[in-house]
């Protein structure tokens, strides 16, 4: 069967944008690479055959799986360092003070991938606790991808993954060796709750957070979707709460609701008077 790749690529780009907001990587090679495993599992002779079949049934389970497989997923521990340092030195202590003795500080790793970001934050909370400070913190980690959420909950990483961004002392302190892999210890796993969330669907059940890490997610979205996703995520941030974005990610249209933290890139504080009605989209139900 002769398939028009350019046409299928256009369809695929529209599919991921509509379902999940992100743009697919440029070029057919990248798409083939991301979808190869899925096509083989389905017993199909090529990624293009699979995409043709998905085009005929865009509401199939396979279509959803293809969207998940196409999502950008590269991630590592303590990615870009500075925001995590700032979390440990400034954000967490102040958030704990703000929360007081009666409630936990709630932290959201939004678009968490396989969980490295959430566990990095958990390690920092645990290290503060080890210094004798009372640290009542709960981390919710969410992703669109079932595979990512499953991996995060297991907390098992291979030798390459534990050597990207993770200092050896932290590996020793927070992980146990399991065969050739490494597993995050149970104290950290207890601190992080992994859930399936698509930013374009309803996630009102997540509640309010003191700190939101939304990193290396918006950068893959077109400006219009970017603002919509950020707006919906920000609805779950308390007044005075912290939003942490990735490098080159900006608050776009929501800049008026956020104050940049001095001395560190990508960290913002939500203005107490931030109003949902200033935004393009009405508040999520």
């Amino acid at each position: 069967m002769r398939v028009d790749r350019a046409e299928l690529l256009a369809f695929t780009g529209a599919l991921t944008r509509r379902r999940a907001g992100f743009d697919i990587p440029r070029g057919s090679g990248a798409v083939e690479l991301r979808l190869g495993t899925l096509a083989r599992r389905e017993g199909l002779d090529s990624v293009w055959t699979m995409l043709s079949s998905i085009r005929r049934q865009p509401d199939s389970k396979l279509a959803a799986e293809a969207v998940e497989a196409l999502a950008p997923r590269d991630t590592w521990f303590f990615r870009d360092r500075a925001p995590f340092q700032h979390f440990a030195d400034a954000i967490l202590p102040e958030a704990l003070m703000q929360a007081g003795p009666t409630r936990a500080v709630r932290i959201w790793s939004a678009g968490c991938g396989a969980g490295q970001e959430a566990y990095s934050l958990a390690m920092l909370a645990e290290e503060r606790r080890a210094r004798g400070v009372r640290v009542d913190a709960a981390i919710v980690a969410t992703d669109l991808s079932r595979a990512a959420v499953r991996r995060g909950a297991q907390g098992v990483y291979d030798q390459f993954e534990v050597q990207r961004g993770l200092p050896i002392r932290r590996l020793v302190e927070h992980f146990d060796k399991e065969g050739e892999d490494w597993r995050v210890n149970s104290a950290l796993r207890r601190m992080v709750d992994f859930r399936l969330v698509n930013f374009l669907r309803d996630f009102s059940a997540l509640g309010e957070f003191d700190v939101i890490f939304l990193r290396h997610v918006l950068t893959h979205m077109s400006p219009q979707i970017h603002d919509r996703v950020l707006g919906r995520v920000m609805d779950h941030l308390r007044p005075d709460g912290w939003l942490v974005l990735g490098p080159w990610e900006t608050p776009g249209n929501l800049a008026a609701d956020l104050d940049p933290a001095p001395g560190v890139d990508g960290v913002f504080r939500k203005r107490p008077e931030a109003r949902a009605d200033r935004r393009v989209e009405p508040r999520a139900a």
């Binding site: 390459f160 050597q163 200092p167 050896i168 050739e180």
Partner: protein, 125 residues
């Protein structure tokens, strides 16, 4: 320019590591075992040592113990780079003054990340 001594009994590994480290802005010297490395350090103390564990003549751990007793030997940042990848080896290396630990096989990302963790180079973007 910062100096790094690359210690490994495999010439291939030394060459690969050296290329990466030079790309990170280090000036490199090489040694094929712990004894040769110790001689090199006595001659000139490097800023960093990338260190294999199992080597003929003198292994990496024995080199590290000896190095830390030398005058000025507490200064170099020592990064193990070895196929020994169990908790016991890692904790022993740390106890004897290793700063970081790379489990082979490694690549450029890992070396850069580990050297940054050891406080030696700017973090990779």
């Amino acid at each position: 320019m910062k100096q790094c001594l690359v210690v490994d009994d495999s010439r291939v590994i030394r060459k690969v590591a050296r290329r990466i480290l030079e790309g990170m802005g280090f000036e490199c010297d090489e040694a094929g075992d712990g004894a040769a490395a110790l001689t090199a350090c006595r001659h000139q103390m490097p800023d960093a040592v990338l260190l294999d564990w199992s080597m003929p003549v003198m292994n990496g751990l024995d080199f590290l113990k000896a190095l830390r007793k030398e005058p000025g030997g507490e200064k170099p940042v020592v990064v193990f780079c070895t196929t020994e990848n169990d908790m016991a080896h890692i904790t022993e290396a740390l106890r004897h003054g290793a700063d970081e630990y790379v489990m082979k096989p490694f690549d450029e990302d890992i070396l850069e990340s580990k050297f940054a963790d050891a406080g030696l180079a700017p973090a990779a973007a």
